[in-house]
Symmetry: none
Subunit: 190 residues, 4 copies
DNA sequence: CATGAATGAGCTTTCATTCAT
DNA sequence: TATGAATGAAAGCTCATTCAT
């Protein structure tokens, strides 16, 4: 009974993810979401207040899963470079394996699609990375620049790579990832 | 009379740019575009085939203006680093001054909004940068990696900085740009 | 357990009365009725066939309570004027104290909301008043006009007074009622 | 061109009048209104903001026509009784000939269907009758009671007679109107 | 060329009602 | 008996597009 609930809730989020990815938020009618999730259109409104709420909740869900993945195996005991490496590979692996989720997050971050409130909410989770960078700067290992710059040159580029990967313009195998990491690290290291 | 034509054409593109930036492609009805441009909805269809055509043409227009800006003052006579510097600063300056255009391009590149054909069309213009990178690799100055990687770590990060700048989370003054260039260059230089 | 039944039945009627009064028949969804009555929407269909049946039954219930009230303390032994006075005051007191019920009856009588069958059913109860009027006419005390006219000028005006009372545009104290009765009586007396 | 506008506007109001009368506000979908008026559903929204606006505007239109009719041939030079007679017969004739309009007004006045603002707006027009009554009271011809009472016992009863007339339960010929007027006047005269 | 009016198609959302439990 | 979940049908409304002028 509780199962059924979670099932439909999840099915709806998944359907939305797929459709918004392939067709955009516009051009993704509720009826299509319902059909792909295997429920009636009216059922959506049992689990979500409205279309905006559905998309917001999907965003938060995906963002949370992304962030929990990002810090797997990481502790602040690790030396700066090693710690950064762990996180960076986590993120890269997530984005390149869960491409649907990655593309969706990209779309959300570059489009006025998600409530500002939800966007803020979604940002909180990257805190440990910021702390790590701060430590790296103190230790003279990482350049003394704004965390926004560090993010722009290490994590953000992955979005582009994923997009090219999805379009099958590039492969990103183990070697490629190592090379990409090199570029990221060279960019921010002192 | 020719003036008038161009005026309305331009006004429509400008109106679309503004509205799509602020509200997204969905939630930007033709009627609102017409109103902001100061014309009748029917008039749009004199200049554009339909909504998709309007957005495609806007994309190409903006992309072209962006690319022409990007290579101002550049010749392939320049040494690799100097040539890259010229182009990079051009792009940075364009994106940070014409933020509306920059945000729009971001949205187009991360959303299934533009026809694949038009996207391809828009890509052509960056050719000289690719040629420059090839030269850099041959001269052993730039890392031997895919141009997609080079793009991801030098040009693409600017989109993130622009977004943060527009949200007034960061300033990007002359010094910041110099720092940003340093990160870009460190990333790809051998 | 029988208690429970009656409780829910009554609660549903009461909830319907309140909601239809405040929001109209349209704009009164079954779900809201259920919530206000403290039961599940599905439970309504145990006690009532459908929405129309619910509203019909409410109408008959209220009409019956109204009519039983109307003839309290009345016998056909009373002289005509005294008898009329008793009934008229009963009706006035009912309408002005049970304003929710009175407003609801008004709404039913002026709107195609209740089945014609139920409306006919509801009319039967006023019989004794018609008989009294007939007697009054024979005795030469009451004008020889259709009972519809007599009703229109004695009972029906009270609906207007109740409406104005509910909107707090007029008070209707003991004195006002006496004055109102005077107008009613002057209207129909020979 | 202007013709067309007025035509459709009027056709829509007329269609609404008919349907709301026969089926109630609930159970009168916009699509049915459109069909009866011979236009597309979308066209309604060129002339009216939404369903509520449509019904409000209809109310004001009908109320205005009613009131302008009510005071035809009346001047405050007339003696009180004569003046009252003129107005009363105007109202009676309007209601008994334009029964659709009369029934609609009844429905609006007894149902939470019209915005409070519009209801207030609609009330203004009866001013001259109130002034006449005031004069009658000063001259000792009319009972010294609230205008609400006077209205309840002279004008309001007509709504009941119209309803019975529409249901074909009574005829209301010239003689009947004279009798009805007698009851109204006896009610309020000193 | 330019437009206001018009619309069919389709959108999001609601709701009376049902059904498995 | 009682219900929360589910839904088909339909509601109000919007919008890209057309067309007579």
């Amino acid at each position: 009974m509780k199962e059924k609930n979670t099932d439909k809730y999840t099915a709806l989020l998944q359907a939305t993810l797929t459709l918004v990815n392939n067709r955009g938020f516009h051009d993704t009618p509720m009826s299509k979401i319902a059909k792909l999730a295997g429920v009636s259109p009216a059922t959506i409104y049992i689990y979500f207040e409205n279309k905006q709420d559905l998309i917001n909740k999907l965003y938060l869900e995906v963002k949370a899963s992304f962030c929990s993945f990002a810090f797997e195996g990481y502790t602040d005991q690790l030396p700066v470079k090693k710690g950064f490496e762990v996180i960076w590979y986590n993120i890269a692996n997530y984005k390149l394996s869960k491409t649907e989720e990655a593309m969706f997050l990209s779309q959300c971050d570059n489009t006025p699609m998600i409530d500002e409130v939800s966007l803020q909410e979604g940002l909180k989770h990257l805190q440990p990375l910021l702390v790590l960078w701060e430590r790296g700067k103190k230790e003279g290992i990482i350049k003394s620049v704004s965390p926004y710059l560090l993010y722009a040159y290490t994590v953000y580029p992955l979005s582009f790579l994923v997009a090219m990967h999805v379009k099958e313009l590039i492969q990103v195998d183990e070697n490629d990832r190592r090379r990409a990491f090199q570029l990221a690290w060279d960019s921010i290291k002192v």
